[in-house]
């Protein structure tokens, strides 16, 4: 019982030119696996999640799944800002056939939103939408939860509660966390895939995968800074030294990690 991607190929158009995102990608997610996928920015992380949950189609290859899959959490694009928090929860509950009459209240508690249930989302503080999207995602019963870029909302006051709720709700279930932030993955995932040039390399030990990915990030950062230096030779000042180049690489690496 798993999600299985076999020889999946997908190309998208970037600035009008075809760009191959996945080239015969193979991936397996077991029923209780906690898998992280590390990938550089713009390497098709969200597209991959879209294909796994069924909102995007591969150009070729097969995706087999025999477990229920969530949408990429914490995507809240379906939340209607002009409607109340409770209305949004009820609306999603109707779509997923949730019959529990206390569902609105339980999502409110999961997301720390009990004080905002009757207020329109647009009139709530900015963090409410993120917390609502997170709570809606984990409140639903799925066998595989997909997380895109972040796994829990970053607000200090809510983060601990969110981590605890997440652990409780996803116990014995599968998690797939796709991100560019290597550190976050080690906290929640047992094994790692690193996406590189459209293919995935599996690392059963998360720490090995993180090391490999950091090296990949560094190489990418060096490549980016070399491209930037080629583009703007006139920006270079006469007193610039080799130390500045190293500094650029470090800054680019840090930026990529933050992304």
């Amino acid at each position: 019982m798993s999600v299985l991607l076999e020889d999946v190929t997908k190309a998208v158009k970037l600035q009008g030119k075809p760009h191959l995102l996945f080239d015969k990608l193979n991936l397996e997610i077991g029923r209780t696996s906690r898998i992280g996928i590390l990938a550089l920015p713009k390497s098709g992380k969200s597209t991959l999640l879209g294909m796994i949950c069924g909102t995007a189609r591969p150009d070729s290859g097969r995706i087999q799944k025999d477990l229920s899959v969530s949408w990429p959490i914490p995507s809240g694009s379906f939340i209607v800002p002009s409607s109340s928090v409770a209305w949004n929860i009820r609306s999603l509950a109707r779509i997923y056939g949730v019959k529990n009459p206390d569902f609105v209240h339980s999502v409110g508690e999961l997301g720390g939103l009990t004080n905002f249930l009757s207020q329109p989302v647009s009139r709530c503080p900015p963090y409410v939408k993120g917390q609502l999207a997170f709570a809606l995602g984990i409140a639903m019963e799925f066998e595989l939860y997909l997380f895109d870029n972040t796994i829990v909302p970053q607000r200090k006051e809510f983060k601990l509660q969110a981590v605890e709720s997440l652990r409780q709700r996803t116990e014995g279930k599968a998690i797939l966390f796709v991100t560019s932030a290597a550190q976050a993955v080690t906290e929640f995932c047992d094994s790692i895939y690193v996406l590189e040039q459209g293919r995935a390399t599996h690392f059963p030990e998360a720490s090995e995968g993180v090391e490999y990915f950091k090296a990949l990030q560094k190489a990418e950062a060096e490549r980016q800074s070399a491209i930037a230096a080629d583009r703007k030779p006139e920006d270079a000042t006469p007193d610039s030294t080799a130390g500045d180049d190293d500094q650029n690489v470090e800054m680019a690496t840090a930026l990529l990690s933050d992304f």
Binding site: F78, S82, W87, S91, L92
Partner: protein, 257 residues
């Protein structure tokens, strides 16, 4: 399979409720204003018909006559205009794997069907009361034709959606032709008011046949010379198949970016 169908029905129902809630949200009484909108259009038509009193077949009550033609046409028109925009309006819902483009079209169509059916029932009950035209002669026949009108409207909408994605301004040309179609589909006057030599150029139109048959099944003293239930059934089957094919082609080959 029954589980899949049950799931899709639930999703369509949820989208329909969402659409109803989203109607006229800026106004107090929200959705009620959608009914008022339809009611005002119908009232305007009835007043026009009563004032003109032209093209009215003898022995038929004018307001009920125009209502039985205009409301099914309005519903057809609303449904075919709705298919493409319903996806654009709700495209953010497509991030949920439970929802497909077809669900959005159907869910949004359910909202229109509810609105127009309520308006149809209220308007025809009132007009029948004041004009003493009574209950429909063959109620089931009227219902079947009404459902046919819905099927044709949604299918035609899905075909137009494909055309719209291939060539965006296509809708403007279609609207131009549909204005003529309104007059040539027996909405305001029965086919008997047209010269017989142009009938062969008109009766291919399934909407004309549906309108004619609704009147035939409604009024005891009206017999349409052209309505054929079998022809309508063939058209519905063909259009539904073609509409679904177009929708699938649009979804797979020309997705919204």
């Amino acid at each position: 399979m029954p589980n899949l169908i049950r799931t899709q029905m639930r999703v369509i129902g949820a989208i329909a409720v969402r659409e109803i809630n989203a109607q006229q949200t800026s106004l107090m009484y929200g959705y009620a204003w959608s009914l008022v909108d339809v009611g005002l259009s119908v009232l305007g038509l009835c007043v026009m018909k009563l004032v003109l009193r032209a093209f009215n077949p003898p022995g038929l009550p004018p307001a009920t006559f125009v209502l039985t033609g205009a409301l099914p046409w309005f519903l057809f028109s609303a449904l075919y205009h709705n298919a493409g925009p319903s996806i654009g309006r709700n495209r953010k819902l497509l991030s949920l794997p439970a929802i497909t483009e077809l669900d959005l079209i159907f869910g949004s169509s359910v909202q229109l069907i509810i609105t127009y059916t309520i308006a149809f029932i209220i308007a025809t009950v009132i007009s029948s009361y004041f004009e003493h035209s009574g209950f429909p002669k063959f109620f089931l026949g009227v219902c079947i034709m009404y459902v046919g009108c819905i099927a044709i409207g949604i299918s035609f909408g899905m075909m137009m959606m494909l055309l719209g994605r291939v060539y965006s301004p296509a809708g403007k040309f279609i609207s131009f032709f549909m204005r003529f179609a309104l007059f040539l589909s027996s909405v305001y006057m029965p086919i008997t008011r047209f010269p017989t030599y142009i009938w062969p150029y008109l009766i291919w139109n399934p909407m004309l046949q549906i309108e004619e048959l609704i009147r035939q099944y409604w009024f005891p003293n009206y017999v349409s010379p052209v309505g054929s239930p079998f022809y309508i059934a063939e058209c519905i089957l063909g259009m539904v198949a073609l509409g679904l094919l177009c929708e699938r082609y649009t979804r797979v080959r020309m997705p919204l970016t």
